[in-house]
Amino acid sequence: MKQYTNVHGHKKMVALVLAISLCLACNSSVYAAAATQYEKAADFELADSTGALHKLSDYRGKVVLLNFWATWCKECVEEIPSLNSAIEKYKDQGLVVLGISIDREWKPIEKLLKTTPMQYPVLLDHTGAVFVGSYTIVRLPSSILINRDGFIIRKIPGSQDFDSRVIQNMITDLLKEK
């Protein structure tokens, strides 16, 4: 009787292992399929206030958060503290935040930086080539989350709290991918 129970239990265990394996196989194929559907982030090269050029493709291997903003956009400015908080928390794990301003010149940005420091590179898209041409942003602020392989994983239109659990989970999930 005891032996029967053991055999029965063994069968149950095998079934459980098979079920788990099947689920994992299903999930991995779903992820694989999803990965092929992701759009490659368009490369660009923009300068920061020192004139140093930042090329998106140079950040391959990092999780990149592009944040499109302008000094005249109140909601954009309100996001800055939580973006600072996110970069402080995750930069050592491989997060890069690039603030892409659509202001026409540096003067208003430099003025803002005196009262609202930004702990990440601020780049100026003074021709609209990235904002309109490459990414066709239709909402301000807008953010785009790019994985380590350079694929757009999430477009995040509108004002966000980057300290929120939802966004932090998105970021940490991507940071876990190697």
């Binding site: 302008a70 005249w72 659509i102 202001d103 026409r104 021709t127 609209g128 904002f131 309109v132 066709t136 942003i137 239709v138 909402r139 301000l140 239109p157």
Partner: protein, 115 residues
């Protein structure tokens, strides 16, 4: 809550959520109205075929490359409502106002949006 109250709240919520959403502004001419950048045969004739858009843009201080793109994505085969929304969003607040004022100078009526 009555149905009327529910309808009012729904509209208010939609306006609140969508009020600052992706949009340009509404252009009116001779009783025909459409969002700037959206397909409309009558407005297309005026803006593109008659040349009103080029004239309006030339009266603003919008950078030349943006003026060209506003024309290109409104009036050519590359027409794109999303590109127009993005270009409009890219304009500074002063440029947005200038554009609207230039349209009104050409007898277009503008439905000023709150954002």
């Amino acid at each position: 809550m009555t149905r009327t109250h529910a309808a009012i709240w729904t509209i208010a919520l939609a306006l609140f959520l969508g009020g600052c959403g992706p949009a340009t502004f509404i252009l009116n001419k001779d009783g025909v109205a459409a969002y700037f950048g959206r397909e409309n045969g009558f407005l297309h004739t005026l803006l593109c075929d008659r040349g009103d858009l080029k004239q309006v843009l030339s009266e603003t201080s919008i950078p030349a490359n943006i003026q060209n793109d506003l024309y290109r994505y409104n009036c050519t085969a590359e027409r794109s409502a999303d590109k127009i929304i993005s270009l409009y969003l890219y304009l500074s607040p002063e440029e947005k106002l200038e554009l609207k004022h230039a349209f009104t100078k050409h007898d277009y009526r503008i439905n000023y949006m709150s954002c």
